[in-house]
């Protein structure tokens, strides 16, 4: 039974990337999402992110991130029109409130809120995809050159999170059987009933931390120089790394000057600043990843080459 969305090894191109290439890919996609304003480009980014999730066969693991992103996107889309007064097309004339002033809702603020929400959704999904496809151990290798302890702590957190979830469930079930009413009642009552459980969980985590520290000490952790086995960059990484940088550059250039898209005071026509080459490079980037990934999956020879 797989309960928790954390990294799991899998035979896909996305999982098979060198962590450096994977980090570059996700960082560049997040940068592109943040830089681009034009909804047409962002729609392509959305389709691209979806295709990456499918390529990584990580739909199930990404679902919680998708739900979280959708919730956040909904909040932003809902709140933005209420607090943003800009825009020329007033859709609803709201009441005048003492501190906030008049709550008018404009078409431009609604569009900007929707696009901002969509951006947040994409960033959350990309973050989720990164967390379920990049091995924390491989990340440790890279980050350990900067801070060994912090990166080890991160890897340990990923390792122990599932145990913590199971332990919390076990404790809650035992307490129900002992007669503790963890369900029902008001929020305050439930919080009071849960408090000893959280404390016990916390104490249990401290015990486990001490045990792990002892086991690590017995295995020579902190003895001095640590061997770093270098994982070589492969063909797939050498394709993804420069292309990721190129896509960021394309996004920046396409948004500069006339290519930018404005929401206020009036919505621009998305086709006004549209640059076909920018769209083509974005779509081409995702399509190329799909082609490489599908071939990688289908032909072992291709996989061995790259």
């Amino acid at each position: 039974m797989r309960l928790i969305p954390v990294y799991r090894p899998r035979e896909t191109l996305v999982h098979g990337l060198h962590p450096l290439a994977a980090l570059a890919l996700y960082a560049s996609l997040v940068a592109v999402v943040l830089v681009l304003q034009n909804p047409l480009y962002l729609a392509v980014c959305g389709l691209g992110a979806l295709s990456l999730v499918l390529l990584a066969e990580a739909g199930e693991e990404c679902r919680p991130f998708l739900l979280l992103g959708m919730f956040m996107a909904f909040l932003v889309a809902l709140l933005n029109p209420l607090v943003n007064r800009q825009g020329g097309h007033v859709l609803v004339y709201g009441p005048r409130l003492p501190v906030l002033g008049r709550l008018d809702v404009t078409l431009e603020a609604v569009a900007y809120g929707a696009v901002s929400g969509f951006r947040i959704l994409l960033v959350v999904v990309l973050f989720g995809l990164a967390s379920v496809t990049v091995s924390p151990d491989d990340l440790l290798d890279i980050l350990s050159r900067i801070s060994l302890r912090s990166s080890l702590s991160a890897a340990l957190a990923v390792r122990l999170y599932p145990s913590l979830v199971v332990e919390a469930r076990e404790m809650a079930e035992v307490q129900l059987a002992r007669g503790e009413r963890l369900r029902g009642g008001g929020r305050w009552q439930r919080a009071r009933a849960h408090f000893p459980l959280w404390m016990a969980l916390f104490r249990g985590s401290l015990d486990r931390a001490a045990n792990i520290a002892e086991a690590m000490s017995a295995r020579g952790f902190g003895s001095g120089r640590v061997t770093r086995r270098r994982r070589p960059l492969r063909g797939r990484d050498l394709v993804v790394l420069p292309l990721s940088l190129a896509v960021v550059a394309a996004a920046v250039f396409s948004s500069a000057g006339e290519g930018g898209y404005r929401y206020f005071p009036l919505l621009d026509n998305p086709l006004t600043g549209f640059r076909a080459w920018a769209m083509a490079s974005l779509a081409g980037f995702f399509a190329l990843l799909q082609v490489i990934g599908r071939c990688w999956k289908k032909w072992p020879w291709w996989r061995s080459r790259i």
Partner: protein, 569 residues
């Protein structure tokens, strides 16, 4: 050459009232397989921690005396220097794994040792292949079974090519098959590489005969040191608490020659049969279980399918009668725990029907049944929420709505369970046996529950603790409590059960009288049954075996006297 040389060593943990090791002297030669025995808290773990410098370097405290391991002074060197010479495997794999995948875990110690990268890669491959872990190379560690995880820990330790392998109850958290597999690997490593092994273990039937030396500890001292055969003779007059079950029954029956394995025991009995004693009746006959008193819990055509997971239960039919203790056995993943959770209402059945104490159980209804049933989980730490033993027990009474003198009830219960003096201790700091007893003490506080549900109650316990728990459960059985237990411990199951069910692949494969279910099986029969089943079908309990063997011994003695008399005449 001695790999371990300890002379006149005494050690106190920080804030320890008495020393954990007292004037201890020990010498272990290269290639020995040393089995450490003793009750929980006798100093076994401390001694093992000393061997790789965790005592005193990690735990602190005061140490007097001298300890040399692989020629290195433990106090001067410490665990970092000793880690590549002395490998240590602890009880719970969950507390030892630090990476996310098997391959990285095996490499962890090697990388810490600063070995060149090609050497690290070579040894990782060697270990994965040698331990049969290659197919799991990229597996996510939290998703491995307990047995697989402990094998990964062992591989990561062996990858360092230690001269001394120290194992602290390495199978205490594993099911019998995984435990067997792990101990087989340890034996193979010892046989093929000559690695010195020092191990403490409660499953003595699996390793006692294999050890080259047995050391027994009590209160931080070594009180016996000799071969397994000598240990068996030494334990003979002492009820054989630290012997395998088959040896223990011979010791308790007063035999002079004590076998170490079922095979040796069969040879002894075979010899007796040929001397013409014939079959011996079980004194008192087979135990008759209590009469059936109506259903306490019942599952009919019970199915449970985990969301996006496997079919954990597939049409289970089971009935727990009042007064008839039920034991559920089966390998890991057979669906035992899921069944227990469904019976308690913690999981809603996907299909089928469950009745518990006459009600359809659910998470909402379960707290309302707290005064009629008690649940003791596999992990006692999941039970404890209070900072002291006393408060934990008072909390239980409060949850059950007890109206009498709570302090008096707690005092009486502590006395009954032999937990006096621990009132102000943190429950999590107690030994495994004490924790298990405390959980039972809480569970059996007044009003005594009609149903006591136990999930692996003997996991990680020594024979003495198991016996105490067994006696407590029997006492409460006389007061009207019925037990439903999930266990891997066949000896415990045999001693407790009136009824038994064996599960496999989500189904109750067979269920019925314990004597029939736990007989004539390779893995689900106690040693005494494997020894005597051909003479007494359905004999599963130690007391019955002791009675039979006493009878055999007396007949053998009488026969020998007769033969002596005839020869004299």
């Amino acid at each position: 050459m001695a790999l371990v040389e300890i002379s006149d060593l005494t050690y106190w943990y920080p804030r320890g009232e008495k020393p954990a090791l007292r004037e201890l002297s020990l010498r272990v030669e290269k290639g020995e397989f040393v089995l450490l025995t003793g009750r929980t808290g006798c100093g076994k773990t401390t001694l093992m921690r000393l061997l790789n410098g965790l005592v005193p370097h990690f735990h602190g405290g005061v140490l007097q005396g001298r300890a040399l391991v692989c020629g290195m002074d433990v106090v001067a060197s410490g665990p970092r220097a000793l880690s590549s010479r002395v490998g240590m495997v602890f009880q719970d794999p969950e507390d030892q794994l630090v990476s996310t995948t098997v391959e990285r875990e095996v490499a962890f110690g090697l990388e810490n040792a600063g070995l060149p990268a090609p050497v690290v890669s070579k040894r990782v491959e060697e270990m994965l292949a040698g331990m049969g872990l290659s197919r799991l190379r990229r597996s996510f560690l939290p998703e491995l079974s307990g047995g697989e995880a402990q094998k990964v820990v062992l591989a990561s330790i062996l990858a360092l090519h230690p001269e001394v392998l120290v194992l602290d109850e390495p199978t205490s958290q594993l099911d019998p098959l995984s435990a067997e597999e792990l101990l087989t690997v340890v034996r193979r490593i010892h046989e093929e590489t000559g690695t010195t092994v020092i191990m403490s273990e409660h499953r003595l039937e699996r390793c006692f005969h294999y050890a080259t030396r047995v050391i027994h500890m009590e209160e931080g001292r070594i009180c016996f040191d000799g071969s397994p055969a000598q240990a068996a003779r030494w334990w003979g007059p002492r009820e054989g608490a630290f012997l395998p079950p088959v040896s223990r029954v011979f010791a308790r029956a007063g035999w002079e020659e004590i076998p170490l394995t079922v095979n040796q025991a069969r040879r002894l009995i075979h010899g007796l049969e040929t001397r013409g004693s014939g079959k011996v009746e079980v004194p008192g006959g087979r135990r008759e279980g209590p009469p059936r008193g109506g259903p306490l819990a019942e599952a009919r055509d019970l199915w449970y399918v985990y969301p996006e997971g496997p079919e954990a239960l597939r049409g289970v039919d089971l009935r727990l009668e009042r007064g008839r203790n039920l034991v559920i056995m089966g390998e890991n993943g057979a669906g035992k725990s899921t069944l227990l959770r469904c019976l308690l209402g913690l999981l809603p059945p996907t299909r089928g029907r469950v009745l518990l104490l006459g009600e359809r159980p659910s998470r909402e209804r379960l707290p309302g049944l707290a005064s009629r049933l008690a649940y003791c989980p596999q992990n006692p730490n999941a039970y404890f929420l209070s900072p002291t033993v006393r408060e934990e027990m008072l909390r239980t009474l409060k949850l059950r709505g007890y109206r009498g003198d709570a302090e008096e009830a707690v005092r009486r219960q502590l006395g009954r369970f032999g937990l006096e003096g621990l009132e102000e201790r943190d429950p999590r700091d107690l030994s495994s046996g004490q924790k298990e007893k405390l959980v039972l003490a809480c569970a059996l506080l007044p009003p005594v529950p009609e149903l006591l549900v136990l999930d692996e109650p003997t996991r990680g316990l020594d024979y003495g603790s198991k016996r105490e728990i067994m006696e407590i459960i029997r006492e409460y059985g006389d007061e009207g409590s019925t037990v439903a237990a999930v266990t891997h411990d066949v000896e415990f199951a045999a001693a407790l059960a009136d009824e038994a069910a064996i599960m496999g692949n989500g189904k109750s494969i067979v269920n019925g009288a314990a004597e029939d279910m736990l007989s004539d099986s390779l893995f689900f029969s106690p040693q005494v049954n494997r020894l005597l089943n051909h003479l007494f079908p359905g004999l599963i309990r130690e007391e019955e075996a002791v009675a039979v063997l006493e009878g055999m011994r007396q007949r053998m003695a009488a026969g020998m006297e007769r033969e002596g008399g005839e020869a004299g005449a």
